[in-house]
């Protein structure tokens, strides 16, 4: 099977280039792309990429696979057309090969205050939620921060410092509807500018790529309704 993989070492290379690889893959193999890439790394030890859990949980190995962002560890080779073209996540600075600098992505995550803020008296034991209140967090809390969505979003490419991006907004909504959080209004006030939420143009690239099957566009719609309710 043929592979074409993006290579770039800013210290020695003037510009990025694509390196061709060839790998013997047994007929009917259920190998994942990450397994194949580890074998390619045996061929050329300088090939760099991130990975950890190898089962779609840690979010380390987000990359552009045949033009679509995804996790290499849960993408079966059998689902891909050869030659398999692998590039780093688009829009973020490349540190080396498929390793990107995620600072801007994390900064947006930090901005939405991804933790519970409670200003009321702490209860004796724990803050309880009804099963219904808890159910509202489903489809939100599962995000593994792989950045596949935000780096597939044109609005995030153009304004990564100002537009929170699908991943950050999904998390923003996760805390906005948490029954235990008391800062809903302050959180909304922080989002009500021309960029943070409203740069979303609803193209749904984010929904298309999310390896966890989450729906940031829907969460963004909910935030917009909350802003509308608060402001009108």
């Amino acid at each position: 099977m043929k592979f074409s993989i993006y290579r770039y070492n800013p210290e020695t290379d003037k510009k990025p280039y694509m390196q061709e690889f060839d790998l013997e893959v047994p007929e009917g193999s259920d190998m994942m792309l990450l397994d194949a890439m580890l074998l390619l790394k045996d061929q050329d030890a300088t090939l760099s990429f991130r990975r950890s859990c190898r089962e779609g949980v840690c979010g380390s190995d987000g990359m552009s696979i045949n033009g679509k962002n995804g996790l290499a560890c849960i993408t079966p080779l059998s689902s891909l057309k050869a030659p398999i073209v692998v590039r780093p996540l688009p829009g973020l600075p490349v540190v080396r090969d498929l390793v990107v600098d995620m600072t801007q992505f994390y900064k947006q995550y930090e901005k939405i205050k991804p933790y519970l803020i409670t200003n009321d008296e702490p209860p004796a034991k724990e803050r309880l939620q009804s099963p219904e209140e808890r159910a509202k967090l489903d489809g939100l809390y599962e995000c593994i921060l792989c950045a596949c969505c935000s780096t597939s979003c044109p609005s995030f490419w153009w304004n990564p410092d100002k537009f929170v991006g699908p991943s950050g907004l999904l998390q923003a909504y996760r805390f906005l509807i948490d029954s235990r959080d008391t800062e809903t209004d302050e959180r909304l006030a922080d989002l009500d500018d021309a960029y943070s939420v409203f740069r979303c143009r609803g193209i749904m690239n984010c929904v298309d790529v999310c390896p966890k099957g989450l729906n940031p566009t829907q969460a963004i719609g909910h935030i917009r309704s909350m802003l509308l309710k608060r402001g009108v």
Partner: protein, 115 residues
């Protein structure tokens, strides 16, 4: 919270609402004009003049003009902040758009006034 100076509205929500409302007004105006042209059959200069002489049409036209101008300002402002990373180019473009919008508004009022 991202601060902006050259945007039309005070907040993202403000811009968003203006954008939708102005679109509705422009659609209504277009439909009304289309209806007028179709139902009149022979649109003479006199018929056209009579249409715009009514207070209703003057107010409606002003509303539509204001909508076009606000819609364009917000839309082009967004386009410029997406696709013009160079500050100087973005500033010149935004200044041009804002001046054009204001000029169009004044010109339109002037025309409606004179009918």
């Amino acid at each position: 919270m991202v601060a902006t100076v050259t945007s039309l509205g005070r907040s993202g929500l403000h811009d968003w609402i203006i954008q939708r409302l102005s679109a509705v007004i422009m659609l209504a105006y277009t439909l009304y004009l289309t209806y007028f042209v179709i139902s009149t059959g022979d649109v003479t200069a006199a018929a056209w003049q009579a249409l715009f002489a009514t207070t209703f049409m003057k107010v409606f036209s002003l509303l539509a003009l204001g909508s076009i101008v606000m819609h364009a300002w917000i839309g082009l402002w967004i386009v410029s902040t997406d696709y013009m990373p160079k500050l100087a180019i973005r500033m010149i473009f935004q200044a041009f758009v804002i001046i054009m919008c204001l000029a169009l508004m004044i010109w339109g009022i002037q025309i409606l006034w004179s009918i």
